[in-house]
């Protein structure tokens, strides 16, 4: 007897589901909506039917964040992009919808979705290929029409935000039959210009918003590949917020409008000026703290001080400091003058009083053994006496052999 494998129900459903998903993949489906239910979770359940047949369909919430949630109505005919699967617990097969559009939308939209899907599979939209946009661009190339609103918006935004930039306009028609070809050629000569004339930090490629027909060149497959191959980082700047084009997906950075593109790639002059204008005040405050701390430390170091520093030297060095400080203060305003003058003079003076300073230079101190007063005159010393000498590091004891009167 032949041993037949006996399936469990779940096993069969799982197998059937695998077969279905593997062999059919994603498809476009046209049908009329009936039995529309909006579940509390936000998922939409409905049936798609034609004259003789029907299939249950579900559109999960946020399937595609790129499109607004569809306003579906019973009886409406739609085009749905999705995949067929089996809901195993019920053994029911189901169409899972990822995109919905009115059936009347036409070939252009369909082509757009197909091309998007294809290029996505080819890896043109992969994050791994996105080039970083330099934070401080010096030269920006712009590919757009020299007469459109886009170039005007881009230039006025750059001028307002960061006018230290050199803008190079590579003119191209952005609408009509020749637009795709011109965009590709502008990309090519911007590249040539970049490698032979002046390196460009980035390119802005764009135009104002428009209908799907108007934007056709930015949904062109050849343009997409040309942008993908371009070695210069590209910021796409097409349309007004809601229009997404293939160019937006290929670009290294997508901006919703031409002005937004200019804004995204430029630092803000206002911010930097703000930073600069508070820099001086902040830094002076910090220096002041530094001075205070130092002064306190030196004041406490002064106790137990045993030397007399030649007063002329103090004066000269103190004057040096004053000169430097005076120069600084002329530039930073009278208000600080008094405080810093006092603080710095005190600091300079106290620093010169640092009892370890002569030691650092190689001077030493000599005492008659057992006395606390340093020797200043040979009159108080005779051959045979023992003396102690203190150096910067350590001290030693020696015996006087000969005395010469100075």
């Amino acid at each position: 007897m032949l041993e037949e494998h006996v399936h469990s129900v779940s096993e069969l459903n799982r197998k059937a589901r695998g077969l279905l998903e593997k062999n059919l993949g994603s498809v476009w489906l046209k049908g009329e909506i009936s039995g529309l239910t909006r579940a509390p979770s936000g998922h939409l359940y409905f049936t798609l039917k034609d004259a003789t047949s029907e299939i249950s369909a579900v559109r999960f919430k946020d399937r595609s964040a790129l499109l607004p949630p569809p306003q579906l109505q019973t009886g409406e005919e739609i085009l749905a992009w999705g995949r067929l699967t089996i809901y195993e617990p019920r053994g029911r097969y189901q169409f899972i919808v990822s995109l919905i559009q009115p059936a009347g939308l036409g070939a252009l939209q369909l082509n757009f979705e197909r091309l998007k899907e294809t290029l996505k599979k080819e890896g043109l939209f992969d994050a791994a290929h996105k080039k970083p946009i330099p934070p401080f661009p010096h030269r920006i190339g712009v590919i757009t029409s020299p007469t459109g609103a886009a170039i005007r918006d881009i230039l006025s935004t750059i001028e307002r935000r960061w006018p230290l930039i050199e803008v190079f306009l590579f003119p191209s028609v952005v609408q009509g039959d020749t637009a795709a070809g011109e965009l590709i050629s502008a990309l090519a000569y911007a590249e040539a210009f970049n490698s032979t004339q002046a390196p460009l930090d980035l390119l802005i490629v764009g135009r104002g918003g428009g209908s799907l027909e108007d934007l056709a060149a930015f949904n062109d497959e050849r343009v997409a590949w040309a942008m993908f191959a371009c070695p210069i980082p590209i910021v796409s700047a097409v349309g007004h917020e809601i229009d997404f084009t293939i160019a937006d997906f290929v670009a290294d950075l997508r901006a919703p409008t031409p002005s937004a593109a200019a804004e995204l790639v430029t630092p803000s002059r206002t911010e930097q000026l703000g930073f600069l204008s508070t820099w001086t005040t902040r830094t002076l405050r910090h220096l002041e703290i530094l001075l205070d701390r130092r002064t306190r430390r030196l004041e406490s170091g002064l106790k137990g001080y045993i030397f007399q520093i030649p007063i002329r030297k103090v004066e000269r060095l103190s004057q040096d400091l004053d000169l430097r400080l005076g120069e600084l203060l002329r530039r930073t305003g009278e208000a600080w003058k008094k405080r810093h003058r006092e603080a710095t003079r005190l600091d300079g003076f106290l620093r010169l009083c640092d009892p370890t300073l002569p030691f650092q230079r190689g001077y030493c101190l000599t005492f008659r053994l057992g006395t606390p007063t340093p020797l200043r005159d040979t009159a108080s010393i005779a051959p045979g006496q023992r003396i102690k000498t203190r150096l910067q590091k350590g001290s030693f004891i020696s015996q006087v052999e000969e005395v010469t009167t100075g």
Binding site: F136, P146, L164, Y189, A190, R269, Q272, L273, L276, L291
Partner: protein, 71 residues
């Protein structure tokens, strides 16, 4: 020095100035350096004027670069 390099340098100076136990001489020197950088950057920013040029391709590898005026 390019402006972004100047800004970066100023940032470094600011960071150094914030170090504890920085000798006063050094702090004053850094402050002076920072001040002249800040002044230079500010004047660059104040005086900057956007430069716009239109690039046209004349032949393979030959470009014409002209000032572009929006009118």
């Amino acid at each position: 020095m390019k402006i972004d390099e100047a800004l970066k340098k100023l940032e470094q100076i600011t960071k150094q100035l914030e170090e504890n136990d920085l000798p006063l001489e050094k702090a004053l020197g850094l402050f002076e350096e920072g001040l002249s950088l800040a002044t230079a950057i500010k004047s660059d920013l104040d005086q900057a004027k956007l430069k716009i040029q239109q690039v046209m391709k004349k032949a393979e590898g030959v470009f014409s670069v002209e000032d572009f005026d929006l009118q």
